[in-house]
Symmetry: C2
Subunit: 231 residues, 2 copies
Amino acid sequence: MSETKAIGVRARVRAELTIEIKRAAKAQLAVDGAAGLSLRAVARDLGMASSAVYRYFASREELLTALIIDAYNAAGLVVEQADAARDRSDHRGRFVAMARALRQWAIDNPHEYALIYGSPVPGYDAPEDTIDPATRIPVALLTVLIESRTQPRSRSKAGKEADELRQSLDGLIAFTGDLVSPSHLALGVEAWAELFGLISLELFGHFKNGITDPEFFFDHAVHTLADRIIP
Amino acid sequence: MSETKAIGVRARVRAELTIEIKRAAKAQLAVDGAAGLSLRAVARDLGMASSAVYRYFASREELLTALIIDAYNAAGLVVEQADAARDRSDHRGRFVAMARALRQWAIDNPHEYALIYGSPVPGYDAPEDTIDPATRIPVALLTVLIESRTQPRSRSKAGKEADELRQSLDGLIAFTGDLVSPSHLALGVEAWAELFGLISLELFGHFKNGITDPEFFFDHAVHTLADRIIP
DNA sequence: TCTGATATGAGAGCACCGCTCTCGTTGTGA
DNA sequence: TCACAACGAGAGCGGTGCTCTCATATCAGA
């Protein structure tokens, strides 16, 4: 009589409990940060034995990895949505919107931001599963950069310096192909770095004495940034 | 007979043990990172009871704060030395040297860098003692910016936008006075953010797939940066 | 110089942590 | 139906931060 017997009761309950555990863990994360996340506390929240949680996540680190993936995806989604809400031809507007969306998400979810863009968990080196979600934001930013450069660039500069720059950006050029010149690509990466620098410095408290209106300053900086990378 | 009786045996031993504890803690920090720092392990290293350590640092957090201060000072010193080694009139060279020195220090002391520029320890909000050492690097950078602008700027732009920018940078302008225009000051902060963005992204593993030669790229970016803020 | 206050170290102990193991129970596929 | 695998609970191990008590070593003042 049960309608979704195909999957089986056990599998469904397992899936539900898995996200329930992550939900509880996220709630704890929002309060105490990554360092304060405790498997036992999560188990207590859910009214189950601490040992039972280990049926779902083999270790605290594995649970943390799941949260990291979710955070990457959440941030990526927010940025992509901000991008999609703009006219595709308004490259400048898209860039600014994405930057603002990212900052807002970071402010709304500081611990999740810290989880993915703060100090990496010690002894933790980005398992395969995190790579893909992590690229969503850079890809979104790069896409605007590419699309703002539909007409082919003036021929790339030659010379040793240009070659070395091209080489140092090897991985990215594999993604962008010939659509963006290395020097312009470098400009994009610099903008990416500045974006995260701005958000991180603000979020981690380094603007405390100095920048009194971070939001206004961020907007100002993002527009300067846009002037630089988008013609 | 003892030569430095003025201070007292107790005080001297205390001072020595204090730095000994910090030394052991730093060694642990370099291996396991901030999250792995354990007061008990430090005590074990020094062959003393764990409770005895609490006579020197009231809590793990307080020990961490001491390490943070030391890290700020170490980084600040390295940057200041790089600055001092250059001709004072070579503003561009000074900026580039400081940036390189900072990156090198970060690479040599990743956990200490993460301690001060990564995610803040949860529930931790920069005690007074950390503020001063934390300003050393921004001050050093700002100083070059100021000194590269000895001749007074063309009169500052007027208007609402300029006023708001000036206001958003209130704290900094209190430091620089009228020597730097708000818009140029903003440029400096943006450069500061990009600098830390570049180092953090590299150090925290976000360049893994994409930038194959981070050192070369950093140098390239820093020179671009210098072009932007130094005339 | 003697003595009372004080600073220090050691040890036991509390509540918490991650993680493992065992042992019943309960769905599941053959 | 039945053997098996998945599961939850509980106990337990070694670790953590931190507190308390108690003995001892140092110091400052009479």
